[in-house]
């Protein structure tokens, strides 16, 4: 399994955990073996965008129109 590359969802999952800053050891070891660094960078930018959009949505929900 050493050559198997992580799919889109697995990459996104790793990146989203990184936003909290924690990761289970076993999952981290799987990540280290299978993640493609270029995919992680793309997923990181996507994660940043999702983070901003979620915050915008929360703000829109909180502020009365």
């Amino acid at each position: 399994m050493a050559d198997s590359r992580a799919g889109f969802l697995a990459t996104m999952r790793a990146v989203l955990w990184s936003f909290v800053g924690i990761r289970k050891r076993k999952d981290y070891q799987d990540d280290a073996r299978s993640l493609d660094p270029r995919a992680v960078v793309v997923a990181g930018l996507l994660g940043g965008l999702i983070f901003v959009l979620v915050l915008v949505a929360v703000v829109k929900w909180v502020v009365p129109t």
Binding site: F19, G21, I22, R23, Y28, G47, V52, L55, V63
Partner: protein, 525 residues
């Protein structure tokens, strides 16, 4: 301090000697030493300015300096400490340590490395020399806000050029660090085996490359507004001074992390050594550093809550800022968990590292308080903010720099630093630091504005205490110089692995590190 002993110099160093050695050197250790010495000189220059400020503030009324000069001092203290002391000091650490820690023979672009250092002294001369020109130095605050910065005398132009030059130096340094880390690691050292100091610097270097051009753009727009008829920040010409604040803080907030992430890296090296346990949650530390870096780009307007913005925008920046506390908290918990049940000893580097965690966390919490928009609107531009960022930058960045210096001095000089002087330095620093800056919280909450040379009588007592603390802190730093000079001149011989439980490639080479190391790449298990 001597980077190498003379016998090694004769053995391995074949370039020019004397002053020319330092001017022409391409050796990462020499350049690292020059960065560190430069930063120390600038630290004392900025420190003298700080003490003059505090002397003026010892009592209400004007005793020591005129208000115009006082404003120049607050501005230049900030600029000198940020761009002259903290940032070059971390680059000095990077130069010395990154090649040693990844098993590289030198930095990737050795000549560019020399250039990025030698740009700094002219920039420093421009900055400090601006006190002597007509109108004096810039007095617009270190943030150089328009319209003040559009109106100042030629000292402002000198500051702008100094920022340009130091920015170019930082960008070149950052490119060098990224390329070195990505391309020159020893065989077997995968990214996730890199020491955390290397990781934090890799991420910091990307931040530098991303935001230093933004700062250069901001100050260039000021320059063209001043001299070439543009009106970017002039409302009369259709511009907007608030635009400057947005551009500046888009640089300024990641800059905060540029000054703290390498500090996290240093502390993450030291705590495992003196707790005699591997770092708890290495991967989560890497992840947390990366996410702090990403989040640092979407929080800049929390510095501008009082400039007027819609409630929705305030809430966005408030939420985003508060969420940064999550990965930062993860780091603090990881350091504490590393120490948990460890066989701890408290040599000077560990004292400063533990002191860092304690005092930096207090600065982090006051940051969280400032992040809440309705509170920030009350405390903005008061001494509460001054207290907050000094807790982060002095007790954070500076304490980590002290910790790192004591930790790696044996590798740099070949001698162990004096524990006695080191411990005195630590205890004096932490006591006087808190004496100087803790009362500023109360002053800020009571409404004392920052950047004023005179104040109402109700602020007198806490200001007197803060000044006593500041002078105590300032003079305690002479102990730091004494410790470095004493260590460079002699003392107990340091072993290759200078600290019992130190891990990493830098401890596999002799102490002091020979002029050339890892000419053949080591193999990492």
């Amino acid at each position: 301090m001597a980077a190498v002993t003379p016998d090694q110099l004769h053995g391995h160093h074949h370039g020019p000697t004397g002053l020319m050695r330092w001017i022409t050197t391409t050796n990462h250790k020499d350049i690292g030493t020059m960065y560190l010495v430069f930063a120390l000189i600038m630290f004392f220059a900025g420190g003298v300015m700080a003490l003059t400020i505090r002397a003026e503030l010892f009592q209400p009324g004007l005793q020591v300096v005129q208000p115009e000069f006082f404003n120049q001092l607050t501005t230049m203290h900030g600029l000198v400490m940020v761009f002259g002391a903290i940032m070059p000091a971390f680059v000095g650490f990077a130069n010395w340590q990154i090649p040693l820690m990844i098993g590289a023979s030198d930095m990737a672009f050795a000549r560019m490395n020399n250039w990025s250092f030698w740009l700094l002294p002219p920039a420093a001369l421009l900055l400090v020399g601006s006190f002597l020109v007509p109108g004096g130095a810039t007095a617009a605050g270190w943030t150089l806000y328009a319209p003040l910065s559009v109106q100042m005398g030629m000292g402002m132009d000198m500051a702008i050029f100094a920022v340009h030059i130091m920015g170019a130096s930082s960008i070149m340094g950052a490119i060098n660090i990224v390329v070195t880390i990505l391309n020159m690691r020893a065989p077997g050292m995968t990214m996730m085996k890199m020491p955390l100091f290397v990781w934090t610097w890799l991420i910091t270097a990307y931040l530098l490359i991303a935001v230093m051009p933004v700062l250069a753009g901001a100050v260039t727009m000021i320059l063209t507004d001043r001299h070439f008829g543009t009106a970017f920040f002039n409302a009369a010409g259709g511009g907007d001074p608030v635009l400057f604040q947005h551009v500046f803080w888009f640089f300024g907030h990641p800059e905060v992390y540029i000054m703290i992430l390498p500090a996290f890296g240093i502390v993450s090296q030291i705590i495992p050594t003196f707790a005699r346990k591997p770092l708890f949650g290495y991967a989560s530390m890497v992840y947390a550093t990366a996410s702090i870096a990403i989040l640092s780009f979407v929080v800049w307007a929390h510095h501008m809550f009082t400039t007027g913005m819609p409630a929705a925008t305030q809430l966005f920046f408030m939420y985003a800022t508060m969420l940064i506390a999550v990965p930062t908290g993860v780091k603090v918990f990881n350091w504490v968990a590393t120490m948990w049940k460890g066989s701890m000893t408290f040599e000077t580097p560990m004292l400063f590292a533990v002191g860092f965690i304690f005092v930096f966390t207090m600065g982090g919490f006051t940051g969280l308080i400032c992040a809440i928009a309705p509170i920030d609107i009350q405390v903005q531009d008061t001494y509460y903010v001054v207290a907050h960022f000094h807790y982060v930058l002095v007790a954070g960045s500076l304490f980590a720099l002290f910790a790192g210096t004591y930790y790696w001095l044996p590798k740099w000089t070949g001698h162990m630093p004096s524990e006695k002087i080191g411990k005195w330095h630590f205890w004096c620093s932490i006591v006087f630091f808190n004496l100087a800056f803790f009362p500023m919280h109360f002053l800020g909450l009571a409404g004392m504005p920052r950047r004023i040379p005179d104040y109402g009588l109700q602020f007198a007592d806490f200001n007197a205490i803060a000044t006593i603390g500041a002078f105590g802190f300032g003079f305690s730093q002479l102990l730091f110089v004494l410790a470095i000079v004493k260590c460079a001149r002699g003392g107990e011989r340091a072993a290759a692995r200078s600290w019992e439980a130190a891990e990493g490639l830098e401890w596999t080479v002799p102490s002091p590190a020979p002029h050339h190391t890892f000419e053949e790449a080591p193999l990492v298990r």
